[in-house]
């Protein structure tokens, strides 16, 4: 494609403004790429983008492009104004599932780059908001070949549409001292297990899963995933008394009072001289004290995960956060991990069988109500599921319920 003399770009006066300023400019990157490779699709994309900046409107429309055997994973884009910008009349995106935690080695990455430069635009999103490697800009004719090439090297497509979507995990135990759960492993096993549901739309709508090593939730799982898996612990916070004392000596007592003691959401921490006393029964595992004093405090040893269900964006209902569905599940041995996956599968099956079209699991739960959901799923109600018990009497009270006959 590239020529002897330098490849010419068209004027993009609006975009050029985005080459100014200290932050790395994607426009400069695009131009560099186009010039070096002479890839006309990139030039066309720049031109159309510049036109969008001028007219303040977008010009892509969808279509259907895919790879053999799969029903999802490629986002097709055709220009609505191909006469104006014929070079970018096709500009599809291939979504690739990255390794949990977004760790790479250069060999694998260079291979992706080389293949992509050969068959696609050379533009890559690292990463999409859901966590995909997004290979942006390819013509329909090259899609299958690109997929086959990378699939040989262990890469598989991600989700799009009414499927289990690409999972996302924080850096996790690979590098984080706060990780209470091996989220990378769970992520890998879970998504591998549901691979069929990732590739072939068979669900009412999208189903996202995100895996956080601890309640800091660096992967935004509660707000952005239908299923949120968050590492936690249920015994006592581990304390290193000597380190606590050192911390107080270094930072001063005021600092500790103002930044730790008074900031615990349940006032679970008191000071006795230079000893910190945590009433672990009151601790809600918010992570704050551990964040401020990571050397002195660590999560407990009896670890597992909390699972929340029903998070999603604002569409239709307004933003929905995931709600606790399982306060604590062990998740270390293979059996434990399988039990978690089974639990998830039951929910997916139930949702898939009963939800309306385009109805995410949170909306579905909202529609049928928590009582029905728990009953059908044969789940115990636990107080951890709610901030507080109901404040209205509008429910079908069971006549057989005897509050005086304590269970167990």
């Amino acid at each position: 494609m590239s020529d002897e003399k330098e490849f010419q770009l068209n004027p993009t006066p609006h975009l050029d403004e985005l080459e100014k300023g200290p932050w790395p400019s994607f426009i400069s990157g695009f131009k560099e790429l186009a010039k070096r490779t002479g890839n006309t699709m990139v030039r066309g994309a720049l031109d159309q983008l510049n036109y969008s900046y001028e007219t303040r409107l977008g010009y892509w429309k969808g279509g259907v492009v895919g790879v053999h055997g799969y029903g999802a994973g490629v986002i097709s884009r055709y220009s609505m104004i191909p006469d104006l910008f014929p070079e970018a009349k096709e500009f599809h995106t291939v979504r690739i599932q990255p390794p949990p935690g977004l760790h790479y080695n250069t060999k694998k990455l260079r291979f992706l780059c080389d293949t992509w430069e050969r068959l696609g635009s050379g533009l890559i999103n690292m990463h999409g908001q859901t966590g995909n490697l997004q290979m942006i800009g390819i013509g329909q004719d090259n899609v299958q070949e690109f997929f086959d090439e990378v699939n040989k090297e262990g890469w598989d497509l991600g989700g799009a549409g009414a499927v289990v979507r690409t999972g996302a995990s924080c850096v996790g135990p690979a590098r984080c001292d706060q990780a209470c759960n091996d989220n990378l492993k769970l992520h890998e096993k879970m998504l591998t297990y549901f691979t069929d549901l990732v590739h072939r739309p068979q669900l009412p709508y999208k189903m996202k899963m995100k895996f956080a090593g601890c309640p800091n939730d660096c992967i935004n799982s509660i707000q952005r995933a239908d299923m949120s898996f968050i590492g936690t612990w249920r015994d006592d916070i581990q304390q290193d008394d000597a380190e606590v004392e050192k911390f107080i000596d270094e930072k001063g007592m005021d600092y500790v009072v103002n930044n730790v003691i008074t900031r615990c959401p349940t006032n679970a921490i008191t000071l006795e001289g230079k000893k910190m006393v945590i009433d672990n029964k009151d601790c809600v595992r918010c992570m704050h004290c551990l964040n401020v004093m990571p050397k002195a405090l660590s999560p407990g040893k009896d670890r597992g995960l909390t699972m929340l269900l029903g998070g999603k964006g604002i569409l239709k209902m307004g933003n929905m956060l995931g709600a606790v569905i399982a306060p604590f599940m062990k998740c270390e041995t293979d059996e434990e991990i399988e039990a978690v996956i089974e639990f998830v599968e039951n929910i997916i099956d139930y949702w898939a069988d009963n939800a309306l079209d385009h109805e995410r699991v949170g909306e579905f739960m909202e529609r049928i109500g928590m009582h029905q959901f728990l009953e059908d799923m044969e789940l115990d109600a636990t107080i951890e599921m709610v901030n507080h018990p109901r404040d209205n009497p509008y429910f079908k009270a069971s006549h057989d319920h005897d509050p005086l006959a304590k269970k167990g």
Binding site: P215, D217, I222, I230, T232, R234, D235, P265, T266, N267, N280, K281, D282, C283, V284, R285, C286, T306, L308, G311, M320, L321, G322, A323, V324, P327, F328, E366, G369, M370, H371, Q372, L374, E375, D380, A381, T382, I383, E384, M385, V386, N387, H388, P389, R390, D391, N392, P393, Y394, F395, K396, A397, S398, H399, H401, D402, P403, L404, K406, K407
Partner: protein, 357 residues
């Protein structure tokens, strides 16, 4: 009846000024501070230096002219002919004279009226009409209130609770008794049985249909007459239809149970006002003394008394210790019905990883 000669004067609320104790009139709007010299007695001090003592006593609420006349006698004797009632049906006697306080107290006690309900005590139960007068009651709130006050009597005459405790009992799910620290309210366990014999004659059908919060009532025809039916899957046994139409018979000796609610708060002190939350349902409606209800109430009050900090209301105490601990301490079971599934249900869900283990 004789010919009516009087022409109504639409006077509205009776003017209050002539009702006030002279010391109240003199210092109206100019009170400086108050103290509580002992349980059941308030001392208000005015900017003028005037002092006014208030003695508060418990009453039957369902009073009689005899009871009221005896209060009037005491008011004449000690309070220059003035007295008032509180919003919780306690009677209050005011006098600037400390020496009157003692004899007033002893006179009241002789008449069987406990002195208390002030400061951090359990004040009188706010209750409703029940079987004595209402047309839709499933229990008798007055009787339940009496049995509860017998149970918590010692906490009325003392000031040993963490903060004021406000109780209420209501005789149907409508809950005229309002939001309280701890409340007892009816909760039905099956749909209304429709009395088709009377329905056609007495029911304003469209109103009744409209009253149902879940649109479970539909027009139908029974024995050729227009009538109503209830879609039982939808019905949430709330009894709202019974208020609109007496043919929607929701009340039943067995299927009308009692539920306990906690953490309602009306004041703005510290935390904002809160609604009360359901913590126990399915208690038998067991007149004349409702022992099961009393037992649960007592358990909650004991846990609160032991665990709460000064000035913490019941709901604020629970907020601090968490609902999990509350259920443990009050020895109550959590079950799925306690999870909201009504309009704003999701706003009550725990959408966080904050969990107490």
């Amino acid at each position: 009846m004789a010919e009516r000669t009087w022409k109504t004067i639409e006077s509205g609320p009776h003017p209050y000024m002539e009702m006030l104790h002279p010391v109240c009139i003199k210092n109206y709007g100019k009170w400086k501070y108050h103290e509580r010299p002992r349980p059941g007695v308030l001392k208000h001090v005015a900017e003028s230096g005037d002092v006014l003592y208030t003695v508060r006593a418990g009453t039957e609420r369902q009073d009689t002219v005899d009871i009221i006349r005896r209060f009037c006698d005491l008011a004449d004797k000690y309070c220059e002919g003035h007295l008032r009632w509180t919003v919780r049906n306690n009677v209050e006697f005011m006098t600037p004279d400390w020496s009157s306080v003692e004899s007033l107290i002893s006179d009241l006690e002789k008449l069987g009226h406990p002195i208390g309900g002030t400061g951090p005590s359990i004040s009188a139960v706010a209750h409703t009409q029940g079987w004595l007068h209402c047309d839709i009651p499933a229990t008798d709130a007055s009787g339940a209130a009496k049995s509860i006050m017998d149970t918590v009597y010692e906490e009325y005459v003392r000031e040993e609770m963490p903060n004021r405790v406000k109780l209420s009992t209501s005789c149907c799910e409508i809950n005229c008794g309002g939001q309280a620290d701890i409340a007892v309210v009816i909760q039905h366990t099956r749909p209304p049985r429709i009395n088709h014999d009377i329905l056609a004659n007495i029911c304003e059908m469209p109103s009744t249909v409209a009253r149902c919060p879940v649109a479970a009532i539909r027009p139908t025809t029974v024995n050729g007459k227009p009538s109503l039916m209830v879609v039982e899957e939808k019905c949430i046994y709330c009894g709202a239809c019974f208020g609109a139409c007496p043919a929607m018979e929701i009340n039943h000796p067995e299927y009308s149970k009692l539920a306990i609610w906690v953490g309602g708060k009306n004041s703005n002190a510290r935390s904002k006002p809160t609604t009360m939350k359901l913590v126990c349902h399915g208690l038998p409606n067991n007149p004349p003394r409702w022992p099961e209800v009393n037992a649960v109430m007592k358990r909650i009050l004991t846990a609160y008394k032991e665990g709460a900090r000064d000035w913490e209301r019941v709901g604020e105490w629970i907020d601090r210790i968490g609902w999990k601990r509350f259920f443990e301490l009050a020895d109550l079971d959590f079950d799925r019905f306690l999870i909201d599934n009504y309009r704003h249900a999701r706003t009550s869900f725990n959408t966080s990883a904050h969990i107490r283990f």
